[in-house]
């Protein structure tokens, strides 16, 4: 083997070995170099138009100390949160604000475990497109991060202590999920929001979060978080909100009812199974939407003090159907008045009448409030509980 050949072999071996080390740890990052952002808030200063991002980050060392000293008497200094830390950074655009985080943070913000995006109401009314665009373009977070609009500034909401969970944003996310599980308010992920935004006619929605005061065990007032309604967007700007009843109606119509309760004057019923379908009908230029709802429930509370006969059961079923229908109609009325297609009627029409849609689409805003909506509800009472004779009669 000549010298040249040997050299060549050495070079080849080097070329094989070096990349192994070069690939190195370029995207390896230790957990203690990360600041895990649990919640991200977005506010706009109406005067200057500047964007303020509020980071709620987890402080792992605090979690460690609370878990190891639990039992030896925890001290909570006036509701101050020690497991999370709030940071604010302001910039002319979301990314500008984002980039300024490094000016005051010691760790790299890590969004992959972010639970909620909170938009201040003022900011939401201005339009949140820049934020949506930034998040969608740089997918640092999961697409199932929950979206919510706060009645006040997002930075205020993120600082409110939540009783059960040590991480406030997790508590907030669980609260939203629980309300959705019991069919009170919708649970909207970033992906769903973005999908609605892309459909052009369907209006994005998001639950609204407010702060209320409650008296604590020591008599002091404690701030708590409560879901108060459903924010309705037109495009990327919030234009109004649905109240509790209208939110329920919305969920009935868009087949998002899981479990929950229907209250009618004489009884309360627990929903066991519910299904709904939006069926559009196009005749001439008139659109008629039929919302078909199929529901099964159990009786859990009966105020009538009567023996439950078949007639009464039928009555309860009817009363239930009426209540559901009125909830849905309330939501429909509200959406007509806001002229925001929260139900996705437009998409339903699009799916069924592809050709006609081309003409309808540009004038959807005018068409929408004039749609005739028919709600058909079928209810069935499965079980009346362990008592079928009234314990005390009138």
């Amino acid at each position: 083997m000549t010298r040249g050949q040997r050299l060549k072999i050495y070079v080849i071996i080097l070329l094989i070995i070096i990349p192994v080390f070069l690939s190195g740890c370029w995207d390896s990052i230790q957990l203690d170099k990360l600041s895990i952002v649990s919640g991200l808030g977005w506010d706009i200063n109406l005067d200057t138009g500047d964007v303020t991002l509020t980071y709620q980050s987890i402080v792992p060392s605090q979690i460690k100390s609370t878990s190891s000293t639990s039992g030896s008497g925890e001290q909570k200094g006036g509701g101050a949160l020690n497991t999370i830390q709030l940071d604010h950074s302001t910039g002319s655009s979301p990314y500008d604000a984002l980039s300024r985080y490094t000016q005051h943070g010691s760790r790299i913000p890590y969004y992959r475990h972010t639970q909620v995006f909170i938009f201040g109401k003022d900011g939401a009314e201005q339009g949140i497109y820049p934020f949506i665009d930034t998040v969608a373009r740089n997918p640092a977070g999961r697409p199932n991060i929950l979206m919510a609009v706060s009645e006040k500034k997002a930075s205020d909401i993120l600082g409110v202590q939540n009783g059960m969970e040590s991480i406030q944003a997790i508590g907030m996310a669980e609260e939203i999920k629980l309300s959705a599980a019991f069919s009170k308010y919708p649970e909207v992920t970033f992906l769903e929001f973005a999908n609605r935004l892309m459909s052009k006619t369907t209006a994005p929605i998001a639950p609204m979060i407010g702060i209320f005061l409650e008296t604590g065990p020591d008599g002091k007032k404690i701030q708590k978080i409560r879901i108060t309604g459903t924010a309705v967007f037109k495009g990327d700007s919030m234009i109004g909100q649905l109240n509790e009843r209208e939110s329920s109606g919305l969920l009935w119509a868009i087949n998002k009812i899981k479990k929950g309760f229907v209250m009618i004057p004489e009884a309360s019923l627990e929903i066991v199974r519910a299904k709904s379908k939006i069926v559009p009908e196009l005749q001439d230029d008139k659109i008629e939407i039929t919302i078909e709802i199929d529901e099964e429930s159990n009786l859990i509370e009966y105020k009538g003090r009567k023996d439950l006969t078949a007639d009464i059961v039928q009555e309860l079923e009817k009363g239930q159907a009426k209540e559901i229908k009125s909830q849905v109609m309330a939501a429909v009325e509200k959406s007509f008045s806001l002229d925001a297609d929260v139900f996705g009627f437009g998409d339903a029409v699009h799916r069924k009448y592809k050709n006609e849609w081309k003409n309808l689409k540009p004038m959807w805003d005018e068409v929408y409030p004039n749609i005739k909506v028919v709600v058909k509800v079928k209810t069935h009472l499965n079980e009346i509980g362990d008592v079928n004779k009234a314990l005390m009669k009138k």
Binding site: G24, L31, I58
Partner: protein, 536 residues
């Protein structure tokens, strides 16, 4: 006289050459002469002044006029046997025989063989090399003046360890006995299980100086003939001073000596070896080793335990799965933990991430270094526990448990989750003990790769291991069989352990000429006809 000189030269060469090859020593056999003095002189020279070599001169025959000598190695022979059944008949009983047999010396030795010695196995040889070799293995040699033949009497007897319970391959149900260091005992253990006339122990001697006895065990008619040939070839190729243990043989004959995976199985249990031999494998026993090698070996064997076959199939299959899982955990868990901690934090559920992040807080080392540190610490402890005198055992376990388990966490050097991961790994690695050393090596490789390439690196290494496994052969049998190449019938004893009555055929990759091992349709069931209750 020249003859004698030549012989002397020959044996001097033999006793002096440490570097010469065996073939040179056996260039020409050297025969005994009729002169006893001459023979003894050579023997004394070859066997040297070693104190355990006993050369007993005597006069035998009716008139005590025939010089003779008994040669043996003290400690290798049964003294009672030598005294009472060799020396006594030669020296006293032979005198009493008034028959005139002593005239012809060669007659005398035949007479001794046929009528005097009351021992079982006697062979005659005329070859001095043969005498020496046999004396060194424990035979007793008788040389008689005027006869160029020696009698070799098998009167072996030495201290051996008694048969004990298996220490490494434990089973709750099933026989307890294990092999010991004596080849003959081990063959007897196998013979007691398999009384088939086809069971063959083929003997070989390996080791230029140790002349270690080796037996290849197989059953004629069940094993494929070429397999025996191949094993014999490989054993004959071995040319080394000494075979101290069966591990020597394994390393000299394995198919892929540079692989991490062992392609030759071993067992200390006669029942396991018998089962493998009955499947169509060959076993190798080595004198001095309480283990038997079995070949060919497939990967799955490492995860089969003898008790799988003694327990009922459901639990046996379940436990086999547990064993697979434990092995995968022991090899991959620390690597996956490192990858998740330093690259893929998003793969963890949020609450788990928070817990882990809290534990990681203030730990100075990157998680990869932490893992390697802990793995090495564990291996040190394990090795210490193994090598250290038994009496010190407790000290190590206490220090080890405190150092690893508590102090390291309390001092903030190591995160508690890492200790949990490593403890799980350590325990899991002992579920399939035969694979424990393999698991330890894989673990270190995987952790190092995972710490700078993450899951990507783990996948690369896993693929590398898989392709390597697929390329391995053990005496021509694919190592991954019956999984790859797939053999549906073989799967009955792979991922599950099917009931014994369904396993009708021997493993197909072994190409046994006798594939059927039991008659089919043996599923036990109650008799179809109803027993008559009236009858008594």
């Amino acid at each position: 006289m020249l003859d004698l000189l030549l012989k002397k030269l020959h044996f001097q060469k033999m006793s002096n050459n440490n570097s010469k090859k065996a073939s040179e020593q056996h260039d020409s056999p050297v025969y005994l002469s009729k002169n006893l003095e001459e023979n003894l002189k050579i023997l004394r020279e070859v066997l040297g002044q070693s104190s355990d070599v006993i050369i007993r001169d005597m006069k035998i025959g009716t008139n005590l006029n025939v010089a003779a000598a008994v040669i043996y190695i003290d400690g290798l022979v049964d003294r009672d046997l030598v005294n009472h059944h060799i020396l006594q008949p030669l020296m006293s009983d032979l005198q009493l025989i008034k028959d005139n047999v002593g005239q012809n010396h060669s007659n005398l030795i035949d007479f001794i063989k046929s009528s005097v010695l009351t021992v079982g196995q006697i062979i005659g040889t005329e070859d001095i090399d043969g005498v020496i070799a046999n004396v060194l293995t424990g035979h007793t040699a008788i040389l008689v003046e005027g006869v160029n033949q020696a009698l070799l009497i098998d009167a072996k007897g030495w201290e051996t360890r008694s048969l004990e319970e298996a220490k490494n391959e434990l089973a709750i149900r099933g026989p307890r006995i294990s092999f010991n260091e004596t080849l003959r005992t081990n063959t007897a253990l196998l013979r007691r299980i398999i009384r088939d006339p086809g069971l063959t122990f083929e003997s070989l001697q390996v080791g230029e100086r140790s002349k270690t006895d080796i037996a290849i065990v197989y059953i004629k008619g069940i094993i494929e003939d070429s397999l025996v040939e191949e094993i014999k070839q490989r054993l004959k190729r071995i040319n080394t001073d000494v075979i101290l243990d069966i591990g020597y043989i394994e390393q000299y004959i394995e198919d892929n000596p540079l692989s991490l995976f062992s392609t030759i199985g071993n067992s200390e249990r006669p029942d396991v070896v018998a089962a493998r031999v009955l499947e169509g494998r060959a076993a190798i026993l080595v004198d001095g080793s309480p283990f038997a090698l079995t070949a060919p070996m497939i990967l799955i064997e490492g995860f089969q335990s003898v008790e799988d076959y003694y327990a009922r199939p459901y639990f046996a299959s379940f436990i086999r799965w547990i064993r697979f899982l434990a092995f995968v955990l022991s090899a991959f868990l620390p690597a996956i933990y490192v990858a998740l901690m330093s690259f893929h934090q998003e793969l963890l559920p949020t609450p788990l991430l928070i817990t882990v992040a809290a534990a990681k807080e203030g730990i100075p080392l990157p998680v990869g270094v932490e893992a390697i540190f802990m793995i090495i610490l564990f291996e040190i402890l394990r090795e210490a526990g193994l090598r250290m005198p038994r009496t010190l055992g407790q000290a190590v376990s206490i220090v080890g448990a405190l150092v690893i388990g508590q102090s390291a966490v309390a001092a903030g050097l190591v995160g508690a989750p890492m200790v949990v991961v490593l403890a799980t790994t350590a325990i899991a690695s002992f579920v399939a003990p035969s694979q424990a050393d393999l698991g330890a090596l894989l673990r270190i490789i995987l952790v190092s790769v995972a710490s700078f390439m993450g899951l990507f690196g783990i996948v690369i290494i896993s693929l590398e291991i898989l392709s390597h496994l697929a390329s391995l052969r053990s005496l021509g049998v694919p190592y991954l069989s019956p999984l790859a190449p797939l053999n549906i019938r073989g799967l009955k004893d792979t991922l599950v352990r099917a009931p014994l009555w369904t396993m009708d055929s021997r493993p197909e990759p072994l190409d046994s000429p006798n594939t059927r091992r039991q008659s089919p349709d043996q599923m036990p069931q109650p008799p179809k006809t109803k027993p008559n209750k009236g009858e008594s």
